[in-house]
């Protein structure tokens, strides 16, 4: 946790972290930041370019783009972070169990995980959305499963590596049981790389969520999401370029910010070597 604060002291970390905090802020307070509603249509106001009244312009239904962007942040950020959170939780349990027990269980988990690892995340996500059906729940489940392999592999590799450390043997020599070793030594040491890689994966998940939204498989109208907004704007690129430009910028800058902040965190935690070994 202190490493997060230290990451803010790096110049890149401060800029990237500042942007992310701002995004979280607008996502939480989206409803109170602008005088407009995200879903009330005002066709007379349609296709307005950016102006003092509508800072980012309006879309084809005359809705304020800034308002929709803020609400879109709510959808995009919450869907991707909840999905990654579930994925990390399941991945850690699965990976820790595989690394800890070894043997047949480990081999079974490894085979299944490596099988899904060999497909692109977008393919897994598309298949799952096709099964579950479009919408926020389907998107979350799809993203969660798509990244499960990554966290399982990382946790497993960490546990296997840490298991051989002398401090584990030292704990055993004191009379420590399995629970103590697993929960007091192995998992706390495995946590930092997994959490940082979860943060980086959230960036990818935002893109994945936007992609699914762009295909109309994500959050359903009128709920705005950055991907769905870009999809609407793509038909109007020449007539009203701001409709696709601003959500696109929001996705790009947020993902870059997540990666930069993740890099700062990795440097602060001094775990670059361990991240590389596991991936």
């Amino acid at each position: 946790m202190r490493a997060v604060l230290r990451a803010f002291r790096r110049p890149m970390g401060a800029i990237a972290g500042g942007w992310l905090l701002a995004m979280i802020f607008v996502a939480v307070f989206a409803a109170w930041l602008t005088p407009y509603d995200y879903d009330i249509q005002a066709l007379k106001e349609a296709y307005q370019p950016p102006s003092p009244a509508h800072w980012l312009g309006t879309d084809e239904f005359g809705r304020d783009l800034l308002t929709r962007l803020f609400h879109g942040a709510r959808t995009s950020l919450s869907v991707s972070s909840i999905a990654i959170g579930i994925s990390v939780l399941c991945g850690m349990v699965l990976g820790a169990a595989a690394g800890w027990f070894g043997g047949r269980f480990d081999r079974a988990v490894t085979v299944v995980v490596d099988l899904t690892w060999s497909f692109p995340e977008i393919l897994i996500a598309l298949i799952l959305v096709a099964i579950i059906g479009p919408g926020t729940t389907g998107t979350m489940a799809a993203i969660g499963v798509a990244y499960l392999a990554q966290f399982t592999r990382l946790t497993r590799a960490q546990i296997m590596m840490l298991k051989g450390e002398t401090f584990i043997e030292a704990a055993r020599s004191l009379g420590a049981g399995n629970a103590h070793i697993l929960f007091r030594h192995l998992l706390p040491n495995a946590l930092a790389p997994v959490l940082v890689s979860a943060m980086l994966a959230t960036g990818d998940a935002i893109i994945l969520e936007a992609t699914l939204g762009f295909f109309g498989l994500g959050a359903q109208p009128p709920t705005p999401s950055w991907g769905a907004m870009m999809s609407a704007g793509s038909a109007l690129v020449f007539k009203a370029p701001w409709i696709i430009l601003f959500p696109g910028l929001a996705v790009a800058i947020t993902v870059v910010a997540i990666n930069l902040f993740g890099d700062a965190l990795i440097a602060e935690l001094d775990i670059r070597a361990r991240m590389r070994r596991a991936a």
Binding site: T166, A170, G175
Partner: protein, 314 residues
């Protein structure tokens, strides 16, 4: 004779490798039928070159590795037969100091956490100020309690490792090359510390090392191992070697005074693979005194004042 604190009876550990689809199963005996009795207050050294099984022996004695066969008696109680809960209780009476002070402390723990861990796992109350007292025992200031291991020097970490081993006031401590990864000047300090602690707390040590000079300085009795088996037990640190291997080991240890150095007869030949030991004496291939009998028959460790496993002792 009073009952020894620790008694090893025919302690043996075999490791199996391979046995998959493409690799034939092979087995090696890392520790072969070791008998050893350690009296209370004694310091017994175990020397031998890398791979001779001395570290495996250290872990077998504390049951960190399960023996293939044999017994470990602590005050007459067989540790190999103890159920889990009783073994945990028995661990209060024995401890280990590890070779590498860098990896033997959890990097996320502070020194205070490290010193509290023995009490946590044994579910014992820890007195207030116990950590400070433990640190004082090993010559560290109380201020290091809040430090993480990476903030300490190698010598300081090893002192923390010793303090952790002493936490539950054990009778018996296995020292697995506790000075091997330290600077020479620090080595002497750690040995002095261990020696002082033994006198003050009446500890019994099993001291594993590859440094014969250090072992002769520190130990009351010296066990010499070669390829998993005990080949000689020197009853006093200054006893003259009777086994040709011990003699070769001692000659390889240079005297600091060049005028007292003798010509070394370096050992010829290679160490045999532990996976395919020769039928006779494991040392026969490199031994200047070996006869035909040595190559066909394995000499047993005799039970004498100065036991040696050799048909042609010096």
């Amino acid at each position: 004779m009073t009952q020894p604190l620790i008694q090893l009876r025919a302690l043996t550990r075999r490791f199996e490798t391979g046995g998959g689809w493409f690799t034939p199963a092979r087995s090696m005996t890392a520790v072969r039928a070791v008998d050893l009795a350690i009296a209370r207050g004694e310091v017994v050294g175990v020397v031998g070159e890398s791979g001779c099984g001395k570290s495996t022996l250290a872990r077998l004695v504390l049951r960190l590795i399960e023996p293939t066969s044999g017994q470990i008696l602590l005050d007459g109680t067989d540790l190999t037969a103890l159920p889990r809960a009783a073994l945990r209780a028995a661990r209060r009476r024995m401890a280990m100091v590890f070779q590498d002070p860098y990896s033997s402390l959890d990097p996320r723990y502070t020194v205070a956490d490290v010193l509290a861990e023995p009490f946590v796992v044994q579910r014992r109350p820890m007195d207030k100020g116990a950590a400070e007292a433990m640190l004082a025992d090993v010559g560290l200031p109380a201020s290091v309690a809040a430090s993480h291991p990476h903030q300490l020097s190698g010598g300081q970490r090893q002192r923390v490792g010793i303090a952790r081993a002493l936490a539950l006031r054990p009778d018996f401590i296995v020292l697995d090359e506790p000075t091997a990864s330290l600077d020479v000047s620090i080595q002497a300090q750690i040995i002095e510390l261990l020696s002082g602690l033994r006198d003050r707390l009446g500890l019994t040590y099993l001291f594993i090392s590859h440094d014969l000079g250090l072992v002769r300085y520190f130990c009351d009795r010296i066990v010499v191992m070669y390829l998993g088996a005990v080949v000689e037990v020197l009853p006093r640190p200054d006893a003259a070697p009777r086994h040709p291997y011990t003699q070769a080991l001692m000659q390889s240890n240079l005297s600091p005074d060049p005028s007292r150095r003798r010509a070394i007869a370096p050992l010829a030949g290679e160490i045999p693979s532990p996976f395919s030991l020769p039928p006779g004496c494991a040392f026969a291939g490199r031994c200047p005194r070996a006869s035909d009998r040595c190559r066909t028959e394995r000499p047993a460790l005799e039970t004498a004042e100065h036991p040696v496993a050799c048909f042609h002792p010096i």
